[in-house]
Symmetry: C2
Subunit: 200 residues, 2 copies
């Protein structure tokens, strides 16, 4: 069986998850030349409620386009984090918007305040999805940054390109910081152990 990478983007309706997933899918499918299937589902509960979009990236034709065992979950609100965390595979990547997600189910999650960054650094809360997209690109190697930029510029409305590129970069920067913080956290216990040993 070939490479298959399953991503679910989830949060409130209106957070721009569908656009985000299309940019991601087109980056991987059109620019990186992978097989990609991008899906969103709506149920009678969709009105004013939760939204989710899925992207499956593969190096071979995708027979079953539903995500079953997530490699990456982005949760832009608490409800979607609570609801979908169980679908994340062991060792999978959880990224949450810490503006809205206070209770994170694992210490290995990347908590980044996408909406606060969009509001404070870009003066445009609605760009939170593109900030998150930048972070996601940085935290996984599944799409190239160059392809994400190309797909982004094609998909966003004219006149908003600069704002969106700034949002993407803000997300990349925030993700680098989050990565470093996690590395420190992971290294720290060993150092303490070492120090402890030295103490004896």
């Amino acid at each position: 069986m070939g490479f298959r990478y399953e991503i679910r983007l989830s949060g409130y309706g209106g957070q721009g998850l569908v656009l985000m997933s299309i940019i991601l899918a087109e980056a991987a499918g059109i620019y990186d030349g992978k097989f990609v299937c991008q899906t969103q589902s709506y149920g009678p509960q969709a009105w004013g409620g939760s939204s989710k979009a899925e992207v499956i990236i593969s190096d071979e034709d995708i027979d079953y386009p539903k995500a079953m065992n997530l490699d990456l979950l982005l949760a832009m609100n608490q409800k979607s984090c609570d609801e979908y965390f169980r679908d994340l595979k062991q060792g999978g990547t959880l990224i949450v918007d810490s503006t809205f997600v206070q209770q994170v189910p694992t210490p290995r999650a990347f908590s980044i305040p996408f909406t606060r960054i969009a509001r404070e650094e870009l003066n445009r809360e609605l760009a939170a999805n593109i900030v998150a997209l930048g972070a996601l690109t940085q935290l996984t190697a599944v799409v190239s940054q160059k392809s994400i930029e190309a797909a982004l510029l094609t998909r966003v409305p004219k006149g908003t390109q600069k704002l969106n590129m700034d949002a993407l970069k803000a997300g990349i920067k925030a993700a680098k910081k989050a990565k470093k913080a996690r590395m420190k956290m992971e290294i720290a216990p060993e150092i303490s152990e070492e120090e402890l040993r030295d103490a004896y």
Copy 2:
């Protein structure tokens, strides 16, 4: 088994099929309260090539989100018409953009020059997808016009709302004309038979 309606929108990349399918899916899912699954797939051939997007509308949860037996096929170019016509179920609806599709595989197809209408009536060729969306709404009863309008206004960029509403209406008008023409064509043979009988 409940109601399941499968739609495939196909054509060139860049014809706006993805946006079209999202508006259709949100109209049915968010505004009409149906279960909807919307999918697009990209393969290594996507670059500069064909594009397709699928929408499945159901009155129950959708287990298998790939279209297998189309109720409706929109073909915005000849290649997609040739390639996907075989996936249309018997009695299914074929709608083609006659600006680009010259060889129509069945006399029961609705041939409407979406791109020419967008160019000549709206001065904007890129609105052809919304003209087609209007026609599709008119030719099937699967989504309500009111819901399509609501979803359209939410999805298109600010400042383009009037253009897009005009495009939708142009499509509805063209579809009404096409429907009438087909009814005449279907009735005509009987009239001729009658006339023939009278002649004897």
